[in-house]
């Protein structure tokens, strides 16, 4: 195990250099003090000294107007560190910008990267031995810094994230996911610092050790700081922290040190603990594992892991609405489709933006950005255009799949370096110029070529996935069996996980879902790991559940049983029993909010020669009243009342279609609106819906309506009563003003008021005739208003 140093900020404070001055500039202004601190750490036993450049990137220095001093500070900082001792190694320090990268913040990935590039280059030029990127709280910022550091120099790069109480970064990434991604991007040492003390970081180290062979580094703070008057105290003393060294070593950690609040005394205690450690045993090697990550989730793929479902539906080919939306720059359908697939069980999502007539790179960038903060499933970027791929993999805050590369040298030359730089994995397709490879042997040969090229670009086995090439059974009856044979040979000869687009097999044939499912089951048996399918297809869902069970990934068959006993969510059949008299059936349908059933029953009732009057009164209205009463006593909830109203509405419309001459008596006309200055309309919309379905004609003037506009409308059409509302105290005066104006011009008018901050007392005070606390109450009060004598002055 090797020892880093402790805090710089804490020591600068001790030597009186805290305050308004830029701590990084102390390298230039007070080299003596900075050198003294470094020397104290070296004397305490540090083998690595971290430069005092935590905030020396241009974006941070700009706070002090020092952004043109990056190079000068880096030079001085490395010199100061070197001065500590001839034996130490210098780690050039890079800290966070304090800003979030788009879409979480406003900083672009490129801006962040060039900010880090400048500091990394300055530190390397100044002679640092390695770079250390630390205290990063968002994985995307680490990605920007790491790519920049790798581009700026060839020094080893250490990456340290900072985790919160719940063991994740503030934006939701856990240590294992971070380690998988940073390892793939070429970080040389991976770890954590600062955070919430050594305990939590020990846990983080254990998680990381399970997924990466890279050396690990842990630099905890001395616990969470406590303010004592004007000084900051850290609770953990040297003797509290030293015992963790043995535990870190046991967890496989190679480098340790201290963060905020640790001093040369802490480092000395750690040194002593380290010197007492027995000779380290080599860490057991981690079996190469293929994993994908999003900001918040990790998905493992390959032998030993459950089959992974890749959703295929974000693909505008043959989908007009999605295509048109994308063309118009909107991604709402795409986002809905993403979430629906995840809800249906997709582990990963394939994203294809193959829309003619648009800038595909821009569309891909936008959609990946939006999905990155919405969709927990890692993405598969579906394009063979390196420019499109680059946009996507650059800004994706995780490890995506690139779908795909073929044995085309020009393409491989562009795609493999991208995958390496940004930590993506690549799906390899056994295709080359000049015809489809028909036999498994031809495919194996092509894959072998691709894998060799990939390795020459530095990709590892776990970065590559293989596609067996699915061709349609309709055009060549041998094609599917050849695909399955390819799969078996892949499994024998390579150790890479496999992926395939499934539905191609049934192209041009009837009974596609069943055929796809049968093929998929066979493919699973031959070693398929992650098929690309339609997750919303129930047959596919079932095949997956079966495969999980039969391949041994469903302990106690729990998921399988759940999937079988689940009532299909699609169309719940009507619960209305047809044995009952039709009026009773109608009431049931309304109560249950069954729109189609309610409309259908109108036909039955008419066939039975029932009068529309009776249908409405004894069927519809009776049911609605019942629902309202049940709501009043808390037996039925607001959304159910709204569903009942919808069923009522569809029944009414059906009646009108069936009996065009039906007399349409309304109970009266209501004019509703939210008063001037108030922008709330949900409550009013609910009231309008319920009044309308209780037989009132409703004129809805909307929200933020001037009293004069209400008056003008009332003069144009007959209004039986006004329904006014205000939702915040600031518009109560408007409510009063409106009521007064109406009263002045239409003395006999009837006014009902409501809204969150309106009370019955206030209603009385402003001269309203009724107050309703909710929509159901509003119907009741309206009925009362209409039967009561008109208000007399």
């Amino acid at each position: 195990m090797h020892l880093f140093d402790g805090a710089m900020g804490t020591m600068l404070q001790k030597y009186g250099l805290a305050g308004s001055e830029c701590p990084d500039y102390c390298n230039v202004s007070h080299p003596d003090i900075v050198q003294r601190i470094h020397r104290e750490y070296a004397e305490a036993g540090s083998e690595y000294i971290t430069t005092n450049t935590f905030g020396a990137s241009p974006l941070k220095l700009a706070d002090y107007g020092l952004e043109d001093q990056v190079e000068a500070i880096a030079q001085a900082a490395v010199r100061n560190a070197r001065a500590a001792s001839p034996h130490i190694r210098v780690a050039g320090d890079i800290g966070p910008t304090g800003q979030f990268i788009r879409p979480l913040g406003d900083l672009s990935f490129d801006e962040a990267a060039s900010n880090f590039y400048r500091l990394a280059k300055a530190l390397a030029d100044a002679g640092a031995d390695c770079l250390i990127i630390e205290t990063i709280i968002d994985i995307q910022e680490m990605r920007a810094a790491l790519t920049a550091a790798k581009a700026a120099c060839s020094l080893p790069v250490i990456c340290q994230m900072s985790y919160s109480e719940d063991g994740r970064t503030i934006t939701g990434t856990d240590p294992a996911a971070a380690a998988i991604l940073l390892d793939a991007m070429g970080a040389d040492v991976i770890g954590a610092n600062c955070s919430v003390g050594p305990d939590k970081l020990l846990e983080a180290a254990k998680q990381m050790a399970r997924v990466t062979d890279k050396p690990l580094i842990i630099q905890p703070n001395a616990g969470m700081p406590v303010l004592d008057g004007n000084t900051t105290r850290f609770p953990l003393a040297p003797e509290d922290m030293a015992p963790y060294i043995a535990r870190f070593a046991e967890a496989g950690v190679t480098f340790a040190g201290g963060c905020c609040g640790t001093t040369p005394a802490h480092i000395r205690a750690m040194r002593e603990a380290m010197d007492r450690l027995p000779a380290p045993e080599p860490r057991p090697a981690v079996e190469p594992l293929t994993a994908f990550t999003s900001r918040t989730r990790t998905v493992f793929v390959g032998p030993g892991h459950a089959p992974v479902m890749i959703g295929e539906r974000i693909n505008p080919t043959g989908r007009k609405k999605m295509r048109e939306e994308i063309q118009s720059g909107s991604f709402v359908s795409v986002k809905k489709e993403a979430l629906a697939q995840v809800a249906a069980g997709a582990d990963m999502l394939d994203v294809n933006m193959g829309v003619p007539g648009i800038d595909q790179s821009a569309a891909m960038e936008k959609v990946v950005m939006e999905l990155s903060m919405l969709c927990p499933a890692p993405l598969s970027i579906d394009s063979t255009d390196p420019a499109v791929l680059e946009k996507a993999v650059k800004i994706y805050p995780g490890r995506p799949l690139i779908n795909s590369v073929s044995a085309d040298p020009a393409l491989m030359e562009k795609v493999f370096p991208l995958a390496r730089k940004y930590g993506a994995a690549v799906l390899c397709l056994p295709l080359a110029k000049g015809g489809l490879p028909k036999t498994a042997e031809e495919r194996i040969a092509l894959i072998r070529q691709i894998l060799e090229t990939a390795r020459s670009f530095g990709l590892r086995r776990q970065d590559l996935l293989l596609d067996p090439l699915v061709l349609t059974a309709a055009s060549d009856q041998k094609a599917p069996s050849e695909t399955l044979r390819t799969l078996r040979l892949y499994r024998e000869q390579f150790h890479c996980p496999t992926v395939m687009g499934t539905s191609n097999v049934s192209f041009g044939l009837p009974g596609r879902p069943q055929l796809n499912a049968a093929f998929l089951s066979m493919a699973f048996a031959c070693g398929m790991d992650a098929p690309i399918i339609n997750p919303l297809d129930e047959t596919m869902q079932r095949t997956f559940a079966e495969a999980r069970l039969l391949l041994g990934f469903d302990a106690g068959a729990r998921q399988y049983i759940a999937s079988v006993s689940e009532t299909p969510a699609a169309v719940p059949s009507s619960s209305v029993s047809s044995d009952k008299p039709v009026l009773e059936q109608i009431r049931d349908a309304i109560r249950n909010g069954e729109k189609e059933e309610a409309a259908r029953l109108m036909n039955d009732a008419i066939q039975e020669k029932m009068s529309p009057d009776r249908i409405i009164k004894e069927g519809l209205t009776a049911a609605m009243t019942e629902v309202g009463d049940a709501y009043g006593i808390g037996k039925v909830y607001l959304p159910q009342v709204m569903m009942a109203a919808e069923a009522m509405q569809s029944a009414f419309s059906e009646l009108k279609v069936l009996l065009p001459s039906m007399k349409n008596d309304s109970k009266g006309t209501a004019l509703l609106c939210t008063v001037q200055g108030d922008i709330h309309d949900l409550g009013k919309n609910i009231v309008a819906a319920l009044l309308e379905n209780s037989g009132y004609r409703v004129i809805d003037l909307g929200k933020d309506v001037a009293p004069e506009a209400i008056l003008a409308e009332a003069k144009r059409t007959h209004v039986d009563f006004f329904g006014l509302c205000s939702l915040m105290t600031t518009t109560l005066p408007e409510l009063k003003k409106t009521a007064a104006l109406l009263r002045e011009h239409i003395p006999a008018c009837r006014i009902m008021v409501g809204g969150a901050v309106v009370t019955p007392e206030y209603a009385r005070e402003i001269g309203a005739d009724a107050y309703a606390k909710d929509g159901v109450d509003a119907v009741r009060k309206a009925d009362q208003l209409m039967t009561a004598d008109p208000v007399s002055e």
Partner: protein, 228 residues
Amino acid sequence: MPVFHGTLFQINRSEMMRYAGLPPKGSDFPEALIRESIEEASALASPRGIWQLLPYDAQTGTLFGDPPLCLEGRQIRKHLSHSVSAAVLAVTAGPDIEQASTDYFHSGLYAKGLLLDAAATAITEHLADQLDRYIQASARRTGRHTAWRYSPGYGDWPVTQQQALCRLIHAEEIGISVTDHSMLLPRKSVTAIIGLSPCSEAPKPQQCTQCHLISCPFRIRPARHFSR
């Protein structure tokens, strides 16, 4: 001004159901409708958040922004009585969800309209929670403790201070505006203040029992947290 727009993972379902007027359990309301509304709202949301840490003088109740702002209201001042600085924040879920909700009502899909609105509220709260947690975490790194998030319009803190508060943090940069009647546009927006103090005994969270809206349908009994 620093921004933190937040993610849309893990929208709180039971909060969404509460806003829609459903109990968290025990109603036979279709699960799929709830899920779809959350999905649709998430797809329509454009999360934005902005904030600023400002020095605060508890004696005079003054926030030292540009220009300084004297907080009105006994309760908020009491709430911040130990604070030495305060983070002012604003978040919004964007304008598209509320438009979609209104559109549903106009096309007769009332339940969808209601559920979508509730999902939008849950998202807005989720965004405020994330910014809150980030501010808390940053405060703890410097040894400071945070008081519970408190919004103008609650208790006796007049909602009319909304305008001045938004001006301090340039809420317009994330597309929030304040009307003459102190309403926030888009509707699914929240402003709040979080006090930072050196001591750990932070005052109690806002609770329903302290609110004057006695018959509010969202009132939680016994008080779990403030009704919003």
